[in-house]
């Protein structure tokens, strides 16, 4: 196991290197120039050239790349062209809201979707199954911003149960933290509930037709135990995979939800940086995202061994 983890961690290095090269090239070959944004409307061509020189953007691409890689090797993600703040600081400021939103959303989604999916599989073909699958289709189909605005209108404007927008750090207390996360998490979790419920239903349904389930029933085990101990436990691998993917996507930022609820997360930081061509910030964020993807995938692989003892590394 330790060897597997070490090998996987070592494998992240070439993955990150490839990501770094691609991100750098894609950004620097795409149209747009931060120097013209900085220079503003009164700038002369000489002014723009001078700003490009100050930012090092007048250097050949391979020189810029090597400079960036050299910094990166020392753990320095660079300085934002616009705010003049370290990229690590900017990412650090946004990490807590993003992680909080991701964790609360996934917790909510798992708590609702796994029982719903299991129930739908157990009662396959019944009205319960059709209701759950209908909800799943609806969850996939309703755009997040529509649901977000509808919840804001009802829960924040009409009933005044929750605030319209904003994020309260955990340091300000657990209740304010949770109070501001309820609506965005509820909005965002709908699509994950739909996804996880469908996968859970399909996996459990498949397992329910296995011989060992029939044997368990034949032994006289009650249906609840059959469902939880034999069916759900053995159906867990694909469910965990989907949850892992979902978590990675959430860490990557959910721009629409963050915008609708004004949560200062990584998604908004990414979009702002792209719109301004703030190269160091975009590069830093994508590297962090890549690392998160790799680590979450590793965690998911390790969890497989917990749910399926036949899997060894």
């Amino acid at each position: 196991m330790l060897g597997f983890v070490s090998r996987r961690l070592l494998a992240t290095i070439p993955v990150m290197a490839v990501v770094a090269v691609f991100v750098f090239l894609l950004l620097h070959l795409s149209p747009g120039d931060p120097a013209t944004v900085i220079a503003g409307d009164y700038a002369s061509p000489e002014d723009i050239a001078r700003i490009r020189a100050k930012l090092g953007l007048d250097q050949p691409i391979h020189v810029q790349f090597l400079t960036w890689i050299e910094r990166l090797a020392t753990g320095d993600l660079g300085i934002s062209i616009f705010s003049n703040l370290p990229v690590a600081t900017l990412i650090g400021q946004r990490l807590e809201p993003t992680l909080a939103l991701a964790l609360v959303t996934l917790t909510l989604a798992i708590l609702i979707a796994v029982p719903l999916g299991t129930l739908a599989a157990w009662k396959a073909g019944s009205w319960i199954d059709r209701f759950v699958m209908g909800f799943a289709v609806l969850g996939f189909s309703v755009p997040v911003f529509v649901l977000g605005y509808a919840l804001i209108w009802l829960m924040a404007i009409k009933l005044a149960w929750f605030p319209v927008q904003g994020y309260a750090p955990l340091a300000e207390g657990f209740w304010p933290f949770l109070h501001r996360l309820v609506l965005p998490s509820a909005t965002l979790s709908v699509i994950y509930i739909a996804l996880i419920a469908r996968i859970t239903r399909a996996s459990v349904l498949e397992v329910l037709s296995e011989d060992y389930v029939r044997t368990a029933r034949a032994k006289g085990l009650n249906e609840r135990l059959v469902l939880l101990r034999h069916a759900l436990a053995n159906a867990a691998v694909p469910i965990v995979t989907v949850i892992g993917i979902g978590f990675s996507l959430l860490i990557g930022g959910v721009v629409v939800t963050e915008s609708v609820y004004n949560i200062p997360g990584l998604g908004r930081l990414t979009v702002d940086a792209v719109l301004r061509r703030d190269y160091p910030v975009i590069q830093g964020i994508i590297l962090v995202f890549s690392a998160a993807y790799v680590l979450v995938n590793l965690l998911v692989d390790l969890l497989y061994t917990v749910f399926d003892p036949r899997i060894h590394y």
């Binding site: 149209p31 013209t36 900085i38 616009f82 003049n84 404007i157 904003g166 908004r268």
Partner: protein, 521 residues
Amino acid sequence: MMRHFLLSLTICLIGTSSAWSETVLKVVPHADLKNIDPIWTTAYITRNHGYMVYDTLFALDENLEVQPQMVDSWSVSDDSLTWAFTLRDELLWHDGTPVTAADCVASIKRWGARDGMGQKLMDATAELRVVDDSTFELVLSAPYGLVLESLGKISSNVPFMMPERLAATDPFEQVPEIIGSGPFLFVAEEWVPGAKVVYVLNQAYVPRTEAPSFAAGGKVVKVDRVEWHYIPDAATAMNALMAGEIDYFELPPHDLLPIMEAAPGVLVENLDPLGQQGWLRMNHLHPPFDDVRIRQAVLWMINQADYLQAVIGNPAYYGICPAYFGCGTPLESDVAAEALMSQDLDKARALIAEAGYDGTPVVILQATDIPINNGAALVTAQILREIGMNVELQAMDWSTLTSRRAISKPVDEGGWNIFITWWIGADILNPVANIGVSGGCRNRAWFGWPCDEEIERLRDAYAREADPAEQKRLADAVQRRAFEIVTYANFGEWFNPIAYSERLKGMIKSPVQFFWNIEKQ
């Protein structure tokens, strides 16, 4: 180190002393504050930040007259070449050190290296010298009529004063820290770019005694803390205002105004008497707009009402205005505006035919992430097609457009023919401030690069002239020439009202939104 300590101590003490009944003004600004040096960038949000933390030597009042702000008194020599300025007493930087004449000289030099009017002033300046701690002199090499107008300009880049050690920063690099002498202190530790900016009352600030008027007069702060919460989604900002979570929404989109006008506890009001002016900018370097007849055809094709209806929609918030230097201003004029004011598509078609237009595609840069820009580009494309031009709309974001418009090469080498933009009225008040009327060719004119010796001669004459009547005559002449060569086509003016809680009192009418004098009840 000591300065940092004193600044931190000041902020801590203010925080402690006001903890009992802190009044917090929560604002949704028009943009995110991404950089905090108002000389390094022309971004309006950074200009507004500048007004919070810095002060100015002079300032514009609501009569568009320049009034002293940090300056106590000034004098001009008989030959009008030497201007002496003496600072007010009790001016202190946020780190507790006194403001000196040397600080102001360094600040003017840094501003003069970046700002358009500042560069003109510096071109006319032989020497800037410190006389004593509170007095400095500006010595001109030739008479210049816009000394006070330049030092008191209200919009980007505003000549904000900084300590000499910070003003010594290369103007193309950002200052390393924010130390001003203005009415608010910037709380750097609480700044989250993309989300939040915090200012606290500067208790050491001594305001002038005059009533506030535009950027001039007493900057009396009536709240303990101002928080800018950047909310990118306008509907969310509107909901937050209606739910009482924020107090002030600086730039609500026009289509949401009816909802807020009907909402209890929310007021909608236009505070900017000068508004914005829309520009259709053509590239004078390349066909077909290198031919003045085709540029004139564009003037004949425009109906400002069509544009304004498309991009603003509510006639209460827009107006027909042909004047290059804005309506409601001392230099407002309808001189030579016949073509712009009387749409005649047949005349436009005739001019195009006379110019021998060969069907070359006209490339319009269309910034789809800015609704006004997007809408005006679509209207332009439609009317150009109606008069027989072959149009290609190229969709992009604003950042890409700002890079693309700087390319002076022909269209097939990455250039362009038309882009849409707009300026606030305060930025176009006279022929020197309005860079759109510059005919300075490829090296000195704004993107589009009009090239005309006559209009440059008139602009220079305006800059040297001090007599208001003669200035007006010269401005009219500049406008006449601008219409003749069509430096740009003005597609009308509009106003952006703010929305705010009825608990707020004391908003200042101005093209720039200020947060002093506002009370939260």
